[in-house]
């Protein structure tokens, strides 16, 4: 079962994990990304490409499901203005075994950072704004799954 949600509203990670756990299997892994405060940051503005986002996330989930034979995948990604400390993304996988659950969850996050059409803008406390640039470490992490 694949569940994809893209929305402004916050999510209840506990409830999502519980729902996925109910599908059975011996292992559930999850990752929550949240807005990191560095002292200067007020909020992030998350933009996306609505016509493409869900399709791209579903493709990532399907790839993970094929590779690790999962009972279920949940990916939730928020959009809009998110303050420091707020949740941005949830990736959760359910499988028979620990390694499959953890690896597939990690795979989903690495892919998401390079092929899901989201863009982050940083809004600083002094009012200045700047678009976040891609990081080579994210590109390398996504590629490493092909090796």
């Amino acid at each position: 079962m694949i569940k994809i949600l893209v929305r402004g509203d916050d999510f209840d990670a506990g409830a999502e994990i519980t729902n996925l756990s109910a599908l059975g299997g011996g292992a559930v892994a999850s990752f929550i990304g949240q807005v990191r405060g560095d002292g200067e940051l007020e909020a992030l503005e998350l933009e996306h490409y609505p016509a493409m986002t869900e399709k791209a996330l579903r493709k990532i989930a399907e790839k993970a499901d094929e590779q690790w034979a999962l009972h279920g995948v949940t990916i939730i990604h928020r959009i809009g203005r998110l303050k420091v400390g707020e949740q941005i993304v949830l990736a959760c996988t359910c499988s028979d075994h620990r390694q499959a659950a953890i690896e597939s969850c990690s795979f989903i996050m690495d892919q998401l950072k390079t092929v899901a059409p989201f863009w982050k803008k940083e809004i600083k406390k002094d009012g200045s704004e700047s678009w976040v640039e891609e990081r080579q470490s994210d590109i390398d992490a996504a590629k490493s799954w092909n090796d």
Partner: protein, 87 residues
């Protein structure tokens, strides 16, 4: 013969062009994204400015990632944006 395609822009590409989408009619001979970007650069200096470094841009045709060399074919929507930064 002329063709047309809807182009959508995101992130700083959208901000610098001052628009989020536009319908572009292009002439015969324009077959790939590279051709289309070249055509646009010839029509207005703002495209020369925003599309000056193509290595900083990514492209999707009908919501699938493609390279600059991809043929436009019968695609309805081209998206031009910087590398994604979600997650």
């Amino acid at each position: 013969m002329t063709c047309q395609i809807n182009i959508v822009y995101f992130s700083w590409v959208k901000e610098r062009l001052g628009r989020d989408q536009e319908l572009i009619v292009y002439p015969a001979g324009v077959e790939t994204i590279d051709d289309l970007v070249g055509h646009l650069k010839g029509t207005d200096s703002i495209y020369q400015h925003v599309f000056s470094d193509l290595k900083k841009l990514r492209f999707a045709l009908d919501q699938d990632f493609v390279g600059l060399e991809a043929p436009l074919g019968n695609s309805e929507e081209l998206a031009i944006f910087p590398p994604v930064t979600g997650g």
